[in-house]
């Protein structure tokens, strides 16, 4: 019982999932808009428990002989996931009521995938990590295919599950090799076996590489990014918002748990791999994003590039790198969800997601255009917005480690990325509107966009959040 209470965040998220689906049955017909607000409220309640747990968890703790690790880094990430659920579920109230036949399950699946992400970040064992990954992705597959009447949504779901299940199988094969060489699946014991040598044995290196490849798939880092553009474009837009941020953060949490936990002793061996992943993602993501006509697809490639920036923080393999990556992912959550919520609003009005349908938005819906501009500038890393601080810290951490080449490439890539972010700004502010009507935004969606914009602007003063993120200083000692 005592042990189960320690898992209260996961259990509450699971309970919220069941409660939302039950609440859906209360009112069998008619508008179920209140369900979005209800699940937003539940998410806020879980968030309160997460913050409370963060405050109480000063020292890291291990449950079930280390199968689950609880520390401040974990609670920081759990906060990111549940915030994502809160914002997305409130903001998709109208969207879900209009487009989906089954509304309760939609919110339920959001909570279920958040439960899985929480399990991923608490994992102290390959088995609990695998369970977390599967719970997360199984819910996300269903969510990506949730627009049952839209062929694109079905295609997105099919592509996601085929490639995602393959990645899971690769993860498992790698995990089995690690188990074979190390004789255990506990991170702490694997770490103890690695520490004596700086070089990995071939079996452990092969297993670790396969596991890392599967996790690189989850964060959509190049060259494991092929699924992302199609899935992001085809999935219902609020789902894309959640998928591109929370699930990416969960993948990073798992990577940090493994690489900066048991594998820290072998940092010299894996750091090159992470640098390659990071630089290829930055180059490929930014270059292909330039030629995109569809804004969801463009944001997908931009997300690949952003994964590259965050990987620079991981490559620094320092405590500062962990804090920087956590901060980066937090601001990315609000920046990218905000951008996708604007895409939801414009897409619902225009009927498509072409960048051309943003023409003259500043005259049609000035506030919406302003919010989009804030998100785009933050993605591009313009000071003093949140995105600037996110990039500054990850590159700073990488520079402290002496990875100047990577930092140089990263800065170059961000300058390049401004081109395609500003293309959308140009469409909004310079192109003529033509006959396009103004965009009507419902109250819930407007609230979601406003909250995201406020956070992005408010993080111009990043110190309080850094305090929360750096509570995870214990992470590295805790994982061993």
């Amino acid at each position: 019982m005592e042990t189960l209470l320690q898992l209260r965040c996961e259990l509450l998220a699971l309970g919220a999932a069941l409660l939302v689906m039950l609440a859906d049955l209360v009112q069998p017909r008619g508008s179920r808009r209140w369900l979005g607000w209800f699940s937003g409220l539940l998410a806020a309640a879980v968030l309160a428990v997460v913050v409370d747990s963060w405050t109480k968890q000063v020292q890291p703790a291990r449950l079930w002989e280390g199968a689950v690790t609880l520390d401040r880094l974990g609670f920081f990430f759990k906060g990111i996931f549940i915030l994502g659920v809160a914002v997305v579920s409130v903001a998709s109230t109208d969207f879900a009521a209009r487009r989906f036949r089954f509304v309760g399950e939609y919110y339920g699946l959001l909570f279920l995938s958040a439960t899985g992400m929480m399990l991923m970040v608490s994992a102290g064992d390959l088995l609990s990590l695998y369970l977390g990954i599967e719970l997360t992705t199984l819910s996300l597959y269903a969510l990506a295919a949730y627009g049952k009447l839209s062929p694109r949504s079905g295609e997105a779901g099919l592509k996601y599950i085929v490639l995602g299940a393959t990645a899971s199988a690769v993860f498992l094969f790698g995990a089995s090799l690690v188990y074979g060489v190390a004789g255990t699946t506990r991170f702490a014991e694997i770490g103890r076996q690695i520490l004596p040598w700086t070089a990995l044995t071939p079996g452990l290196a092969a297993g670790g590489l396969l596991v890392l490849a599967a996790l690189a798939f989850k964060i959509a880092a190049a060259p494991f990014h092929m699924w992302a553009p199609d899935v992001y474009q085809g999935a219902p837009t609020p789902v894309t918002a959640f998928l591109s941020t929370a699930s990416k953060a969960a993948g990073f949490a798992a990577i940090i748990r493994i690489l900066l936990g048991p594998m820290l002793g072998a940092a010299e061996s894996w750091i090159t791999v992470v640098i390659v992943l990071s630089s290829v993602s930055m180059v490929v993501g930014n270059l292909i994003a330039i030629s995109q006509k569809d804004i969801k697809r463009m944001l997908a490639y931009s997300g690949i590039a952003q994964a590259g920036y965050a990987l620079a923080g991981v490559a620094s393999s320092s405590e500062m790198g962990i804090v920087a990556t956590g901060f980066f992912l937090f601001q990315y959550l609000f920046t990218n969800i905000g951008a996708f919520l604007v895409v939801t609003a414009v897409g619902s009005s225009a009927g498509n997601d072409e960048i051309a349908s943003y023409n003259g938005l500043c005259r049609r819906s000035p506030l919406l255009a302003l919010a989009m501009l804030v998100f785009l500038l933050s993605l591009g890393g313009i000071p003093p917005l949140a995105g600037f601080w996110g990039k500054l810290y990850v590159f700073w951490a990488a520079a402290e480690r002496g990875l100047y080449g990577l930092v140089f490439l990263g800065v170059l890539a961000s300058v390049l990325s401004l081109y395609y972010y500003l293309m959308v700004a140009r469409a909004m502010y310079i192109e003529p509107a033509g006959r396009r009507p103004g965009v009507k935004v419902g109250f819930a969606l407007a609230l979601g966009i406003a909250v995201c914009a406020l956070v992005v602007v408010g993080l111009a003063y990043p110190t309080p959040l850094l305090h929360f993120a750096s509570g995870g200083m214990w992470a590295m000692s805790g994982a061993r």
Binding site: Y130, L138, P151, L158, V162, T166, L172, S176, T185, S291
Partner: protein
Amino acid sequence: MNEPMVIPIQAYLIVSTLLFAIGLMAVLTRRNAIAVLMGIELMLNAANINFVVFWRYGGGQGMEGLVFAITVIALAAAEAAIALAIILNVYRRFKTVNVDQINLMRG
């Protein structure tokens, strides 16, 4: 009485690696979505063989390998259920399960 013949661990690993490679080939080359799913199942089973073999030959401390294998079997079933549901829905929209023809988005 003769000792029972002991199969060396390498034999199992060769089988499991081959199985994994065959599964991966099926995922990459088959055009039928159901056949692709079968390839994924092969890959999962290859990992399962590894877990059980490493458990058996690893001195038998703890039950991690066995527990892992059983968990994978259960989750593979869940994954297949969702995948088949998605394929069914895709079939209703596209009237085909050929992954080459299910390609509205590109670029």
